[in-house]
């Protein structure tokens, strides 16, 4: 099941021409792709759809717009962060790493009760007095 998820004979575009095979690594694992592939297409042909996880929540992300617009597929290429996998051509011996969850010291609260105005602040203070 490696590097075989490709349309080999397309009704409009014709047969897939023989291209030079190259190898690269993604998160330490070695994959093969063809010359001219983008990082995203080479990984997709290998069945890898998760290119990174959201920095805060850790939810998986992959190809979204595939035209370099949305930055959802950004990966770390040869120690350069924020490289769009959908636009970058894969090269031999390329070292690709996926995005990881970053530490988040400030956990946001959904129900924020912070006052918007001074009047609201006074109101909240009054409410607190009432509770006590």
């Amino acid at each position: 099941m490696r590097n075989n998820r490709r349309i080999v004979d397309h009704p409009v575009l014709g047969k897939l021409s023989d291209r030079k095979e190259i190898t690269f690594t993604f998160d330490g694992q070695t994959y093969t792709g063809y010359e001219g592939d983008t990082i995203a297409s080479a990984l997709l042909a290998n069945g890898v759809r998760t290119l990174r996880v959201h920095e805060e929540s850790g939810k998986p992300r992959g190809i979204y717009c595939n035209i370099g617009h949305c930055f959802e597929c950004r990966v770390n290429v040869n120690d350069e962060p924020g490289v769009r996998a959908c636009l970058t051509e894969v090269k031999d011996n390329m070292v690709v790493k996926s995005g990881r969850v970053l530490p988040s010291p400030l956990v946001s609260t959904v129900n924020d009760t912070l006052p918007r105005t001074y009047a609201e602040f006074i109101e909240q203070q009054e409410d607190k007095k009432g509770e006590v």
């Binding site: 949305c70 930055f71 959802e72 924020g82």
Partner: protein, 90 residues
């Protein structure tokens, strides 16, 4: 439908935007500051039309130029190292 993600960079759902807009009756700009929708890596280039559309539905605010959402996306995002010209780091 409401659990659909509008801003993928900052993980803001349609529900978040709707609720915030209803609760505070605020402008699109305030929505951006409260929920962070459109403040992520892509610079709001992906979700801004969606946020504007939701705002028009909820508060009737039409996307205009009077109170801008303050999104000034570049035509193409360019890294500073590209502007500087590639140099060997020493």
């Amino acid at each position: 439908m409401d659990h659909i993600t509008i801003c993928r960079c900052e993980e803001v759902t349609l529900e978040d935007i709707k609720n915030t807009a209803k609760k505070h009756q605020c402008t699109a700009r305030e929505i951006k500051l409260r929920t962070r929708a459109g403040m992520g890596y892509c610079g709001g280039r992906t979700c801004r039309p969606a946020v504007d559309a939701v705002m028009e539905q909820v508060t009737g605010e039409k996307p205009g130029h009077d109170i801008p959402l303050k999104v000034q996306p570049p035509v193409r995002p360019v890294s500073l190292s590209t502007l500087r010209g590639k140099q060997d780091e020493k």
